[in-house]
Subunit: 157 residues, 2 copies
DNA sequence: CTTGATGTTGAAGTCAACTTGAAGTCAAGG
DNA sequence: CCTTGACTTCAAGTTGACTTCAACATCAAG
């Protein structure tokens, strides 16, 4: 039984599936906030769980933390996002997923067309050409999120 | 006009689109090999271009360098791979792409089903659940390759 | 009030795939 | 022969998203 409805870091970790270190990291990045006890320990409101759900969803879609931060900033910081907010966001996510999907499909079809020939010519083969698989890629951030590792998992070593 | 048919590192870079530093790195990783001049400079055979095409294709599919190294090791090191080699490989690549594609489609459909509700419950929402985005799903490699940045790159700064 | 589980911070480490830099060597045209 | 541009090696840096560590503080129970 909690005396208050505030959650400790390990409780949030347990409920959200994020490691405590990740929670601290997210806070440092401005994705989360927490109140503090007089002794300086974090106490989270339950709404943080929803926020974390949002973050995980966004990570699953493939957004970087920076992009997530922007998206969160665009939402009313404290209040629960309205359905309109959510609709707008999910539309852009959908687009993003569709882009990724079609890039992969193009790649697969290129592969199919190569199966017969085994060419792998640097110039002719669809597979070995730049291919806009990079789905997002403005000129700015040229590095990839090559991850989305198991978003879960026990902090224990 | 070349006096020999061996290529310098910058020639290979220009023709393959890989940066010279990447070529050296690949050699250090055992993906490539090159003969040396008496002075110690690299000279590549033309076949290295095909090998690089293979590497780029594999990277586009989302394989790590380590996996590529394995794949290359499984091929006859020096000889041109047979059509059978190629078929086997491309079949597994195709599977991989299909897995990635279907994972993304699942994600997108989950998103669609969420658009109406805006729930994002940690437990109920398909989006925020671990979701096997990691496509491969063995306990081993839980990585999601989704990308493949501009594999191009003019070597010049 | 003591104790042990939890929590805090900041710095440093990790992973993949390269790139960058420093300091020095080689190749080839004039 | 000399210059210049291309090349060499090895170490360290970069990127993103965290994790790990050390050294210390707080919380809640008993």
């Amino acid at each position: 039984m909690k005396t208050t409805d505030l959650l400790t870091v390990s409780e949030v970790a347990a409920r959200s599936g994020f490691a405590p270190s990740a929670l601290r990291f997210y806070e440092a990045q401005g994705l989360l906030s927490a109140t503090r006890t007089s002794g300086g320990q974090r106490r989270y409101e339950r709404s943080v769980l929803r926020r974390l759900a949002f973050i995980r969803a966004a990570r699953n879609i493939g957004l970087s933390l920076e992009e997530i931060a922007e998206a969160l900033a665009a939402l009313p910081a404290t209040r629960t996002p309205t359905k309109a907010d959510w609709t707008r966001l999910s539309r852009s996510w959908r687009q993003r997923l569709n882009d990724q999907i079609s890039a992969l499909i193009k790649l697969r079809d290129g592969l199919d067309s190569c199966i017969g020939c085994g060419c792998l010519s640097l110039r002719r083969c669809a597979l070995s050409n730049p291919a806009d698989v990079a789905a997002g890629g403005g000129p700015g951030a040229a590095y990839f999120p090559w991850q989305i590792r198991r978003g879960d998992r026990s902090p224990g070593r």
